[in-house]
Amino acid sequence: MDSNKSLLESLDAVIADAFADWNIYSTLITGGMVAFLVWSFVTSRDPDIHPFLLARQSTAFPVRKSGESAPYRSLETPHGFPLRSGLNVKDPGAPKWTTGRKGDLRDVWRAAVRGALDDEGKLTGKQGKIYTVLGRKAVEHSLDQVTQEINVIGRFLQEAKTKTMAVCLTDSMELLAAIFAGAFYGFKVVLIPHNLKAQDLSTLLQRAQADTLIAEAGALDLSLVAKNNRQLSQVVWVAKVGSRHMDWTEVPADVKGSLDVTVWHDLVDEKRDLAGLEVPSWDASSPSPSVTTVWPSASGVGEFIEFQPENLVAAIAGLLYSLPRNQRFHSNDLVLSIDSMSRSYPLCQIMAAIFAGASVALNSVAGEGVDFALATVGVSPTVIIASSRTMSQYHDKFMEPHSGIISSIARWLQVRNLEAGVMPSHGLFSQLANIGPTAELSLDKLRLLCISHRADADPQDRLTCGQLTDLRIFTGARVVYALTGPGVAGAISQTNVYDYRRFLGPNHFGAPLSSVEVLLTDIPSDEKFEGKITVSGPAVISGTVILPARGHIRDDHTLELVA
């Protein structure tokens, strides 16, 4: 009892002594601590997404075959339900409760011309625009004008009995119009990358058995191409604004008679009044022709991947709905692609943007490896579509070396935000962070970066978690990172737009899109799920494709590539 009392007493004495020393510094420290707690309470926000949704991002089927992993699917399309296979297009006059058609590229264009819908499905009368970016200058085209060109070119080639049209253009309105002309007027479109040697182009034309070629005036040696391609009967040159005064209709002597040469803008000028501004009507049950892209291969010029319209619409819908509702493309967006439309991911993303009624900017320099800073001047986009090579080069050459002390501190603070699952807002801090690395860019409105990585690309180009975090902080935009493979339209899988988690090493590629199902085959043992990435579903050309790349399913059910 006594000792107890003395213990309490001495404790009391110690505390009293300690508080007796209370002075102005104590008050300051306490004040600072309270201020800090209040500040962190006031500035704390709920994470953008519940952390458990990121902890398991796809569903695995509970049964697997021996030597394979279980099939994995997007959370949107659980096992036992059909995968997403179309755009759910509802024709006017169709009963409300019926499910829509899958649709095809024609529906994409009609949706764009009809304009954006509001939340209740009523027309807002707001139409997107198409821009062609040439260096610092952006040329604006209204959708009606593009429709007109689609009609002119489509009818002209239909009369010329075109069956397969090869398009070898830089990204531009003309390329887009040519793709839609093929869909509306019934000829196959083969998209050929524009920077090929004449010899390679000629080989590809021969393999595609193209009877029509649309190419840039003066960009290729016609006599060489024509000599090896006897089936070629039509050439349409697209002349740049600066060189339209020249006469491009000259035909090399040795193919005179068998080859017709015309110029795009002459055709459009001549037939504009006949063509009309109406989107051609079509029978919904009539098939629309395929679109073929070239998948680059290490040896040779690459292989053709022929996408049927079903594959494309499945991929477009898959990409469109992989974003949560308030992150999706909408009519106020300006979507800039700095990756070539002759690749399926940018193609499908652009189509998704057009379908959603967004404005689209196509860059003439677009490609797999471009200068990010140069390619984004000219317009102020809200969404950018780029390749992993472009972004990793930009990060290594500009972002990393140019960040100073202020941006490092701001970065450190923003990483805390990202770790709490909150996207830092475009505020004072992000302005600070932007001082060094991205000062020269016109990215004030940027909200989303869509980056794609080819499954067989150079592992050097694979982006790390750190790089993606830097991109988020310094551009102030959310990032989605997708894995693409030959034979799969759009993408195989894509990261969740709210997934800011940081790990060591290369970033994962998220969960499968709702248009595909992913499993790993040829796994070495039952413990380690690592094998060839096998993709099936409506977005895959022959139903199922096995990629040469090996993948691994992580514990959070996301896909990553094995080095």
Partner: protein
């Protein structure tokens, strides 16, 4: 004397200040420390699809906490979620680990509905009438809706059967 006392009072290095400072540092650390992302426990590993013969299927009858499997027209269903019906003590317990096709077609749980000879060929169900086949069809559809197909049943000696 008093002036030096005053200096002592205004010192920052008093015990109370040290306590407060370290408290501050701890609060800041807990607010700003690196956080690891949330994780969920691993889901149970998927069942491997396998080829059964009547003999190898037999052990999956729900005894000793084993899963309950039964076969319908060559498809092996995992009916463990319906253990109360198909497991030991349930009304359908005779079907556990067996080919249940004939029994379901006849709506009968009797032992004579089961194929006696486990080494013999599978029941070909050729003698069923239209009603019974419809019955079986109905059961099969319900099973496909509710339960997972975890394997395939073949007769002993079938080329697909695993070598024991």
């Amino acid at each position: 004397m008093s002036s030096s006392d005053g200096a002592e009072v205004m010192s920052i290095a008093t015990p109370i200040n040290l306590v407060l400072l370290s408290l501050f540092v701890v609060t800041v650390y807990f607010q700003l420390r690196p956080k690891t992302p949330a994780t969920l426990p691993r889901s149970p590993p998927p069942v491997v699809f396998r080829v059964f013969t009547p003999t190898t299927l037999l052990e999956f009858n729900g005894q000793d906490e084993k899963p309950v499997y039964l076969a319908v027209r060559g498809r092996v269903f995992d009916v463990t979620p319906g253990r109360n019906f198909y497991g030991p003590g349930g009304p359908y317990e005779n079907f556990a680990g067996r080919d249940a096709s004939r029994g379901l077609a006849h709506q009968s749980f009797d032992l004579e509905m089961l194929t006696e000879d486990l080494k013999g060929p599978l029941d070909d169900l050729k003698d069923l009438d239209a009603d019974q086949l419809e019955n079986l069809q109905g059961w099969e559809e319900r099973f496909l809706e509710k339960y997972l197909v975890v394997g395939k049943l073949v007769a002993e000696g079938d080329p697909e059967a695993p070598k024991s």
